[in-house]
């Protein structure tokens, strides 16, 4: 025991670190900050350390080359002992990190912790969030599979829309004129050197400010932040009602750190690593790329925005959002901290959470994507075929054969890009059906050039049957009048 303390003293005489470490550990924090609400910052740091460790381990096997990245991931998954587990830890760690960073940010926002004097802590935190998202995207690129390849194409398409510098930005991003080996190498440099280096630096700054400025006290409704008096009040609070950070508050952080590592490991064991999906071969075009979980909302948004809104939303939206986050502490640097007295703050968070949740949920079944195999794979429900004429059956074949089903569902099978057609006959008359098929419109292509008159007649006669048994098909009242005047004309179906 004496030997150990002697060795310790030998080192500390040279390093002189014991005193500052003790000072940090024992700095007094307000008692009420030792709460389960205050654990997410340290949780994010814990996952970040896990990401560094697992990332270094993966880099021992991974080859950042367009030709070999995919197969090196396959060896990690299947050949290297526990390679699959390290990949799974890194992949799940990434998901957890994005989630915890977001939760941490929401908590800080709702507790008013961004207000004076912690403005810069918040701003550094915004950059940490952006870097975390940058790590998530570049990490998906390093999993160099079909999704990564086409995902890069989507990134390039978005970047190219920036005025004036767009095309140059694309070449800079891709490291050349196309997505290829140089693209992967450059994202490797970003993911492994540039962003992590910045992240480590910014995390240190962030922590330094947390220690120097003190942990944000529990917000009390009515206790307003004033620049003139806040620091003295906070000092008073830690003196009167404070406790040393270690061990008073830190035990909760430690429990959460262990819990989060356990949760990541459990997900890694149970669900396994992410991909890689198909080989990144641009000549295999039978693929529908999807982004990783945290970018799914963006995938949904891009399909639901009107086309004219898309470029402005893509290019101006992020700039406005980031500018707002950076300016927030200057817009409301003083005043009420408690979320109980900040209804707009709470509603903003709820609105964002519901929007992101809804968009993510929608991207789970992508109603905007045509089902590419429905035309050949999905059966026409019996009820629409029973008792049909030869012409109507022919129409059902046209319906399937011309890929209508890829966008229009029948009996819930098929695409949802266009409206479901189970009861289309109650909405459109024969004339309207013909017009819609031939001329398209309302986001439907015109089929006039691709259907013969006979095919159109058959198709429309099939579509006219698509109505529930207890509901009459739509009819054109003016036509009834015309027909009553010329009795020999073919009469429309009566209800």
């Amino acid at each position: 025991m004496r030997l150990i303390s002697q060795i310790g003293e030998w080192f500390d005489r040279r390093l002189q670190l014991a005193a500052p470490i003790r000072e940090v550990a024992e700095h007094r924090v307000p008692r009420n900050t030792a709460s389960w609400w205050y654990i997410f910052g340290s949780g994010a740091l814990t996952v970040f350390v896990l990401q560094i460790v697992t990332g270094i381990l993966l880099a021992m096997i991974y080859v950042p080359s367009g030709g070999e990245a995919w197969s090196s991931l396959q060896s990690l998954n299947h050949e290297v002992t526990l390679g699959w587990f390290i990949r799974a830890l890194h992949g799940w760690g990434s998901n957890f990190m994005v989630a915890i960073v977001l939760i941490h940010m929401v908590q800080v926002f709702l507790f008013g912790a961004y207000k004076f004097p912690r403005e810069l802590t918040w701003i550094v935190g915004v950059f940490l969030l952006l870097m975390t998202l940058g790590m998530a995207f570049s990490g998906q690129v390093l999993r160099f599979d079909q999704d990564a390849y086409w995902g890069l194409g989507i990134g390039a398409s978005i970047a190219s829309r920036v005025a004036i510098i767009g095309p140059a930005a694309v070449k800079l991003m891709l490291g050349g004129p196309i997505i290829a080996g140089a693209t992967l190498s450059r994202f490797f440099a970003l993911h492994v050197f540039v962003i992590p280096g910045l992240l480590i630096g910014f995390v240190c700054l962030h922590l330094l400010m947390v220690v120097k400025l003190g942990i944000n006290e529990w917000p009390m409704p009515g206790r307003l932040v004033k620049k003139a008096t806040y620091e003295a009040e906070y000092h008073e609070l830690t003196k009167k009602d404070g406790e040393p950070f270690v061990p008073y508050a830190v035990w909760k952080d430690m429990f959460f750190a262990a819990f989060i590592l356990l949760a990541v490991a459990a997900c890694a064991v149970y669900f396994g690593p992410f991909g890689p999906a198909g080989r990144p071969d641009p000549t295999i075009i039978q693929t529908a790329p999807r982004p990783d979980y945290f970018f799914l909302w963006l995938y949904a948004l891009l399909s639901l925005l009107p086309p004219s809104m898309e470029t402005p939303a893509l290019l101006i939206g992020p700039v406005v959002a980031i500018a707002f986050l950076l300016l927030l502490p200057f817009l409301s640097g003083e005043g009420e901290k408690s979320w109980r007295r900040r209804p707009i703050a709470v509603l903003t968070i709820l609105l964002l959470a519901i929007s992101l949740g809804t968009l993510t949920h929608l991207s789970g079944y992508t109603p905007w994507s045509p089902h590419m195999n429905s035309w050949s794979g999905d059966p026409v429900p019996d009820r629409f075929l029973r008792g049909t004429t030869a012409l109507q059956r022919q129409g059902a074949l046209v319906f399937q054969g011309k890929q209508c089903r890829n966008c229009h569902s029948l009996g819930d099978a098929g695409g949802h890009r266009g409206p479901a057609l189970d009861s289309v006959a109650t909405r459109l008359t024969q004339d309207q059906l013909i017009r819609q098929v031939i001329q398209g419109g309302g986001n439907m292509p015109a089929y006039g050039k691709n259907l013969s008159p006979a095919e159109t007649t058959a198709l429309v006669s099939f579509l006219e049957r698509l109505h529930p048994p207890n509901q009459a098909p739509a009819r054109d009242a003016s036509r009834d009048v015309a027909i009553s005047e010329t009795p020999e004309t073919h009469a429309p179906a009566q209800p």
Partner: protein
């Protein structure tokens, strides 16, 4: 010790030191920046583009649209499979061809050709195009990107080498503009 008006020897040496470092840093920064921007600044405009062969005319039946692949003119040894690119070749009649990029004009996903309905459909956000590449429906704001093509010695060749994206200057020259609504 120096006051505001005089410059001590040490002070002058430090300032000279800063100046010297500044000159050296600039001298090193120039090649670093040129290296970083090399993928943009490479040679004259469109220097990535070159004529590549897709195959003989006979491989493409008249009136049909077929998938073809070509090797990128700017190959790097680490490209692997990404060196190849696919494109849709439509032989209109005789030596008249249309060669479309597989990349959707919306966000670049690979579009698929459905000969039965004469449509290209995109699996991502549901963009659709007619057989001549013009926009049919969905989020794209324009028709498919088209490579310039010519028939030489019975071979179909196209001018390629750059990823077609909505904002690229080559894309602005090529392909169908959206039809008047």
């Amino acid at each position: 010790m120096s006051n505001d008006n005089t410059l001590s020897r040490r002070g002058l040496l430090m300032k000279l030191g800063i100046l010297f470092n500044g000159i050296v840093a600039t001298a090193i920064a120039v090649p670093i920046v040129r290296f970083l921007l090399s993928s943009i600044t490479r040679g004259p405009a469109n220097s990535y583009l070159a004529w590549v062969t897709l195959g003989s005319v006979a491989e493409f039946p008249e009136g049909e649209t077929r998938l073809a692949t070509f090797r990128n003119p700017n190959a790097m040894p680490t490209d692997g499979k990404t060196i190849d690119t696919a494109c849709w070749v439509r032989r209109v009649a005789g030596d008249q061809f249309q060669v479309f990029a597989v990349n959707c004009a919306h966000l670049g996903c690979p579009v698929r050709w459905f000969p039965q309905s004469g449509l290209f459909m995109c699996p991502c956000h549901g963009g659709a195009y007619y057989r001549d590449g013009s926009r049919a429906s969905g989020p794209p704001e324009r028709g498919l990107f088209e490579y310039p093509n010519k028939v030489q010695n019975g071979l179909v060749t196209i001018q390629a080498g750059e990823l077609p994206t909505p904002g690229s200057p080559t894309a602005a020259l090529l392909g169908k503009k959206p039809p008047c609504a």
